[in-house]
Each structure stands twice: as structure tokens, then as C-alpha cells.
Symmetry: C2
Subunit: 95 residues, 2 copies
């Protein structure tokens, strides 16, 4: 779960896709135009993001619209805050 999530985020192309989707939904084709990789490759990346629940897809006629699923980011944020705050089991030492 965090596994698929971080794996999905570990690729720069995929992170850029997420950045693009912040500004608004896009079709697979529109996303593909911004990159120098084939459509099948793009499709693969979108699928990885989908498996990680980072994006949602919805068919709109011929097109498929992709959008950000921000709710999942909460989980990752929680993980990070935990690491940084050092407050997992309330038993930590000072200094």
C-alpha cells in the first residue's frame, strides 16, 4: 500500500504527470503529448499511478479523463509526519 505508493512516486515521469493533473483533469492523449515516450509507455505509467490510487480515471466517450486523487496523499503525509515527529510509541528519549 505505501509500497505501491512510493514505487509509483519514484519515477520522475509519473511525478510530472501528477504535477500536470494539479492544474486540472487531462486525457491520456493530452498527457502523452507532453512527453517523448510512446503511448503504451504512458499508459503503463498511468496504470501504475492508478494502482497506487494516486489518480482516478473516468471514460468520457472516446477519451479517458485522468484526475488527481488527493485523498491518498493524506496517508503519505501521515507517514512522513510520524517519522519526523518521532512519536510512534510515545516512548522516546529526549536529547
Amino acid at each position: 500500500m505505501l509500497d505501491a505508493l512510493f514505487k509509483a512516486l519514484s519515477d520522475p515521469t509519473r511525478r510530472e504527470i501528477l504535477g500536470m493533473l494539479r492544474q486540472g483533469d487531462l486525457t491520456a492523449g493530452e498527457i502523452a503529448e507532453h512527453f517523448n515516450i510512446s503511448k503504451p509507455s504512458l499508459s503503463h505509467h498511468l496504470n501504475v499511478l492508478k494502482q497506487a490510487d494516486l489518480v482516478l480515471d473516468e471514460r468520457k466517450g472516446q477519451y479517458i479523463n485522468y484526475s488527481l486523487n488527493t485523498s491518498v496523499f493524506q496517508d503519505v503525509l501521515a507517514w512522513f509526519v510520524n517519522i519526523v515527529n518521532n512519536k510512534d510509541r510515545g516512548d522516546n528519549v529526549e536529547k
Copy 2:
């Protein structure tokens, strides 16, 4: 940079190492004892974490002590907050 960072986080063993280090510094050997993988493998994981600046290592005699480098988490947190808040270009700040 975010690249190495997320790649480092995308492995469950490595995330568990980070969790262990929250409670305090540990030597490579102490970390290795908690896992069912060989010491060379562990060493490899520690190196990946080091390349990503997620941990620091300091030789202490025969031992090498590993510790969390929390400062790097700031960068990732910033990235996440940006994605979630939809605020990329320094404009629009209120709230």
C-alpha cells in the same frame, strides 16, 4: 534528488530501517539482526538510504553508527504539500 529519495522509500525493508532509526541510532549489525537478509544486502539498503540523504553514517571504532537525517524530510513534505494544496507558483498565498 526527489528521484533518489522516493526510490529509496519505495522499498519496505528500507522504510522499516527508517522506522527503527527513529527510536535511536543503530549499528549496521544491529539493523541486520532484525531482518532475514544477508549483511551485504543490508549494507546495500543502507547505502541507498545514504545516497538519498535519508540517513547519516559515522564510524565508531569497529562499528558504523547509522542515524536518521530528518532534514531531508522537509523537502518531501514540501513537495506533498504543494501537490495537495495546488499552489505551485509562489502566487496565491493566503491561508
